[in-house]
Amino acid sequence: MNSHGMHETGDEPYFYSNYTWKELREVPAQRRVVLLPVGSTEDHGHHLPLDTDNYLAWTVCVETAKRAPDEVLVMPLIPYGYNLHHIDFPGTICVGAEHFVNYVADVCKSIAYHGFKRILIVDGHGSNVPLLDMAARRVILETDALCASFIYTNLIKDVCRRIRESAHPGGMAHACELETSLFLYLDERRVRKAQIQKEVNLPPSKYIWLDLVDGAPLQMMDWWSSFSRTGVVGDPTLATREKGKQMFETVVERMVELVREFQDRPRAPRQDMHAEKVVGDFGLKP
């Protein structure tokens, strides 16, 4: 088993890396959706390890795969993301925006090269969102595949709104009720329970706050250490295994649904609407 928990037995049909090249040759015809998990290595309070984003994104993908073993293909996870704003917390690894997008786009372009037509980038780290959006758009414009990205929490906003006890909005952002509940459900012994502390310390505002489920009208990301001493923004003391179970089971259920819809999504060809033949693209880049 490697650091992302890969290879639970070794013959699962849904792990991309389990195949030999000769076996993989047959896979594009099976119309699987390729899942590329992307996380980060980043502080998550005193109570959760640095691998929180990686672990949650990875586990969501693997569980989806177990329930739809013939419909998805899980790529090795990209374990580093965009988070210079967290650098004051020891251990955080920051990849620059452009470097990150280029790396992710190269991975997806290679996947498309081999003939896979549907790629979903599954994100576990909020600050990756705009960059993975760019990467996915580039893949569509630079290959013949369809590529989309999303952070898994987007799939359970309604569930979170219903079961959350944290202040709304602005009380559920990082190492919070949501992430801690998931972690408690999935791997309780790795949560340092005695270290769980609440911290919500941003200046009160009608327009600016941080929340994984209901984002603010204005996007602003100050240095994390200017408003958090523990690394937490939220109230992990409200986290429970039971909430984690509800969140996780719903994410996975909806991911299976999403995968099926995405695979079957009809796609019409591009059409050139010019009256005259275009001369060339003059090196236009997305």
Binding site: H7, T41, L50, P76, F89, F100
Partner: protein, 273 residues
């Protein structure tokens, strides 16, 4: 203390990471690839082997190292004719990895090493280590784990060519996870050999040359995996470990001295490289 017993970088919390920095642990970044490895082994060979080797080092010296999550994708365009291979452009790979090592240096770790599991990453991990050293106060080095104790490994091997999905890699894989190797599919293969160069740059020829693999092989193998065995893999691992542990002690005590400026007149420090 958690930081003393844990060798996986990612399993610590940030307050525990402060302890790891104080312990002056060596931070190791494994670099792999997702690439075809013949008809007998899966695409994960490079990442799986380099992480397994680094984790074994961690288990044997948990108080001395922290192993980062491995880089799963590397330089591979020359293998692209084989289904599944993932390619990262060289400058994208270098930029991505330098950001990782610089972040590690930022936190105060003074000794960083890249341990490489994919031959074609070699020139790049060298540059990544050099840039990290020149652009931060930390020192950083790079090596392929397969080079550690090579002189002692060589007599264990029966085949003559050692390159890719060969006796060496297959033996190690058999040792770590034999159920995932399809030995009935293993077959030897060789590249086009001239007097000065070969299609896949074996070390016996002076000229570096890396042709598209789709031009000279139908198996994706370079070497003879049929000679591989798990027993050889175990012996190889022990040799690699012996040398990596010795290297680790050397690196931990390697002096980081102050640079000395030998100019007579002041240098132009405002130049931005």
């Amino acid at each position: 203390m958690k930081a003393k017993e844990t060798y996986l970088y990612n399993k610590l919390t940030w307050p525990e990471m402060n302890d790891a920095i104080e312990l002056e642990k060596v931070v190791i970044l494994p670099t792999g690839s997702t690439e075809q490895h013949g008809r007998h082994m899966p695409l994960d060979v490079d990442l799986f082997l380099v992480e397994s080797v680094c984790h074994e080092l961690g288990r044997r010296a948990p108080d001395k190292v922290l192993v980062l999550p491995g880089i799963p994708y590397g330089l591979n365009m020359h293998h692209l004719d084989f289904p599944g291979t993932i390619h990262i452009q060289p400058e994208h790979f270098i930029n991505f990895c330098v950001d990782v090592t610089k972040s590690v240096a930022y936190h105060g770790f003074k000794r960083i090493a890249l341990v490489n599991g994919h031959g074609s990453n070699g020139p790049m991990v060298d540059l990544i280590a050099r840039r990290t050293l020149l652009e931060t106060p930390s020192i950083c080095c790079a090596f392929g784990y397969f080079g550690m104790g090579w002189v002692e490994v060589l007599p264990l091997l029966e085949s003559e060519i050692h390159a890719h999905a060969d006796e060496f890699e297959t033996s190690l894989y058999l040792h770590f996870a034999k159920e995932r190797v399809q030995m009935d599919q293993a077959a030897p293969d060789n590249d086009r050999m001239g007097r000065y160069m070969t299609s896949d740059s074996v070390s016996s020829r002076p000229v570096r040359f890396n042709d598209f693999w789709g031009r000279w092989t139908k198996t994706g193998v370079h070497g003879d995996p049929t000679k591989a065995s798990g027993a050889k893999g175990k012996q190889i691992l022990e040799i690699v470990m012996k040398h990596m542990l010795a290297w680790l002690d050397e690196y931990r005590t390697w002096p980081i001295e102050a640079r000395q400026d030998q100019h007579r007149l002041p240098v132009q420090r405002e130049i931005r490289w």
